[in-house]
Symmetry: C2
C-alpha cells in the first residue's frame, strides 16, 4: 500500500492504492465507497471521498471490469443508412439514446458492420467483454440467432417480435397508417391510393396493412390498381406516382408510406403540371423536418423516434442491471400532423 502521500507512481494516474493510502483505509473500503456497496462508516466514507477528490482519482475501468466481470456499456448496432431518411432517423434516435445513456454515465459504443459476414460480426461483438447490452436497429435484417446464444441482453428498436423473451420498442405503424387513411376518408376521399414501403421491412408491411384495414373498415373496396409497390426510395415513388397520374382513373388522394417518398410523389405531381392538394391530396409518414418546409406543407404521420431511442436506452440499462426481466415490449403511438397537403372533397 502506498505511503500516506499525494505522490503517485510516476506518469500514472492514481490508483485505488493511492487513495487507500491517502485516506488511511484499505483498498477494499475504498472500493466499497466508490461503488456504494456494503457498509462503510460515515467517517471513513468521507475520508475516502476526500482522498478521491484530492488525488483526482478515477477508477481504471478495465481493471474494474476484469475483476467484477460486469460491464455496463451500451452497444448500438445500426445498418449502414446512406439516404436522407436514414440520417434523420439515426440522429433522432441518437438524441433519445444519448439523453439517457450519458447522464447514466454509461458508454455508448457504436457497432457498425462494415463488410463483415454477419455471423462473424455478431460473434465478435458478443465476445467483447466490455459490452453489457445492445440496442439494435435492424432495418430489413432478421435477428441473428447468435444473439440468442449469448447472455447479453438486447432490445430491438423499430420492430415487433412475438417471442416472449425478445425486447423491443416499436411504433404503431399500422395505426398510424390507418389514421392517415381514415383522415383522407373523412375529408371525403374514396379513391385513395398508397405507395407502400419495402415489404421486407416490418414498418413497410404494417403501414400497408393499416391502409387496407382503414379502407375495409369504411367499406371502401381495396383495389389492386391503387396499391403501388414502393421501397422507401424517393425515385421509385416518383416513378410510381407518375404512372398513377397517367392512369385512366387516377385517385384523388395518396397515402405515401414515408416522407422521403412523398417528396418524390410531390415532384411527380408538379412535373405533370398538377397541384397538391388541388388535384391530389397527399399524406406522408415520419414527419421529417423537411416536410414543414415544403410547399404545400406536408400532412404526415409523426413517429416518436427520439422517444423510441430514449425508451430503448432506458430498457437496455435496466436489463443490464437486471432491474427488469426480459420480455419488455412497447409500442409507441404515432400522431397525425395535419398541414396543407390534403383538401376536402365536397
Amino acid at each position: 500500500m502506498a505511503k500516506n502521500t499525494v505522490k503517485t507512481r510516476k506518469g500514472k494516474f492514481p490508483s485505488i492504492d493511492d487513495v487507500a493510502g491517502e485516506a488511511g483505509v484499505s483498498i477494499a473500503t475504498v472500493s466499497r465507497v466508490i461503488n456504494n456497496i456494503g457498509s462503510v462508516k460515515e467517517r471513513n466514507k468521507l475520508k475516502v471521498l476526500e482522498a478521491v477528490d484530492k488525488l483526482n482519482f478515477k477508477p481504471n475501468i478495465s481493471a474494474s471490469r476484469l475483476a467484477s466481470n460486469k460491464v455496463n456499456s451500451v452497444g448500438l448496432i445500426m445498418p449502414v443508412y446512406d439516404d436522407m431518411f436514414g440520417s434523420f432517423f439515426f440522429t433522432e434516435l441518437m438524441k433519445g439514446i444519448r439523453d439517457v445513456v450519458f447522464p447514466a454515465r454509461r458508454d455508448l459504443i457504436l457497432l457498425y458492420n462494415v463488410n463483415e459476414p454477419e455471423d462473424d460480426f455478431y460473434r465478435r461483438i458478443l465476445n467483447k467483454t466490455y459490452i453489457g447490452g445492445l440496442i439494435l436497429e435492424l432495418g430489413a435484417l432478421e435477428i441473428n440467432p447468435i444473439l440468442g446464444k449469448s447472455d447479453i441482453p438486447y432490445v430491438v428498436v423499430n420492430g415487433t417480435y412475438d417471442e416472449p423473451r425478445i425486447n423491443y420498442i416499436s411504433v404503431s405503424n399500422r395505426t398510424g397508417a390507418h389514421d392517415a387513411v381514415k383522415y383522407l376518408i373523412g375529408m371525403g376521399h374514396s379513391r385513395i391510393a398508397t405507395i407502400h414501403g419495402a415489404l421486407n421491412i416490418q414498418s413497410g408491411r404494417e403501414r400497408l396493412e393499416g391502409y387496407t384495414q382503414a379502407l375495409e373498415e369504411s367499406g371502401i373496396p381495396v383495389s389492386r390498381d391503387l396499391i403501388l409497390d414502393g421501397n422507401f426510395f424517393r425515385k421509385t415513388a416518383y416513378e410510381k406516382m407518375t404512372a398513377l397520374l397517367g392512369a385512366k382513373e387516377p385517385p384523388t388522394a395518396v397515402f405515401v408510406a414515408s416522407d422521403e417518398m412523398a417528396l418524390g410523389a410531390i415532384k411527380a405531381v408538379k412535373d405533370k403540371g398538377l397541384n397538391v392538394p388541388g388535384d391530389i391530396s397527399l399524406v406522408g409518414f415520419d414527419d421529417n423536418p423537411m416536410c414543414s418546409e415544403l410547399s404545400p406543407k406536408l400532412t404526415t404521420v409523426r413517429q416518436p423516434i427520439t422517444e423510441m431511442g430514449r425508451l430503448a436506452a432506458e430498457t437496455i440499462i435496466k436489463l443490464i442491471d437486471k432491474e427488469e426481466k426480459p420480455g419488455v415490449k412497447k409500442t409507441l403511438a404515432t400522431e397525425l400532423i395535419t398541414r396543407d397537403s390534403c383538401r376536402r372533397i365536397p
Copy 2:
C-alpha cells in the same frame, strides 16, 4: 494451466489458458501468436491458431488493456446538435469515420457531454483507460486545456489551429466562400450581399473573410449594409433577408453562408412575392441534399464532410499507433456546385 481438453470453465468464454492447454504451449506463446509479436515457431503458431479456432477464443479486452496499458479505441466527441444541418453534418462525418474505424477493428465510442461541466467531462473522458485517441468536433467551443495535459492524441475536425502540435482536418471555408462570390461576380453581379454564419464559429468567420476578399480582389467596395449578421439559423436568415429586400437599394445577389440559412432566405424572397433567381441570385454553402430538391435547385459550395471524417479517423489511428507524429494539419478543398439559383446579369 488447463488440461488438454475443450472443456472450459463453466459458463465462461474460453481464456488464454484454455487455448494454451489445447495447443500444448504456454500462455506466453499464445499471447505472442495472437498479437503477432515476438517470434514463434511456425508449427506452434499453427497449433495455437487451430486451438483459437476450435475454442472460438476471443481475448478479453479488459484484461488485455489492464495488462498492456494500451488501448486502441477511438472516442468521438461532438456537440449536441439539434438542427437539420447538425444531423446532416453528423451523419456525413460518421460515414467517413465508420468506413475507416470499423474495418480497422477499432471500437468507436461516442462521447457526448450532456449537462456536465466541461472540465469534469474532459477529465472523466481522459481517465477512461480504454480510449486511445479522440476525434473532436467543437462547434463554437475552444479546445479544452485539459486535453493538452493528457498524453491521449486528438484530432480536431472542422477547425484550424496554429499551435504546431495540434492535429486538425478542416475544409477551405475561405476559398469556398471566395469562389462562390467570384462566381457571382463573374455572372455580372456587383451588388452582392452576404448573410454570414455565427462569428464565434471558425467556419462562420472564414466564410465571411472569403466574401470580403473576393469583393476586394475585384475592386468592388465592401458595404456594411450588405453584410448581414446571421448565425446559421434559418429563422434569422429569413428575417435578415426580409429586411434586406425591403431596403432602398437591394442587392442582386446574396451569398448565404449555409444551406440551412439559404432555405430561410429563399422563403423570404418568395414571401415578398419575388423570385429566385429572377429577382435575386443566391448561393449557399454545404451542399445539404435538400438543396437539390428545392425549386430552384440551389447553387452551393460543397464541403467534403465524409472525406473529412475519413481523414480524421485515419489520422487518429496513426497517432494512436504512433505511426505519425503530432502536428497533422490538413485542409480539404471545397467545390462550387452550380445549379439554378443564380442568373447572369447583362
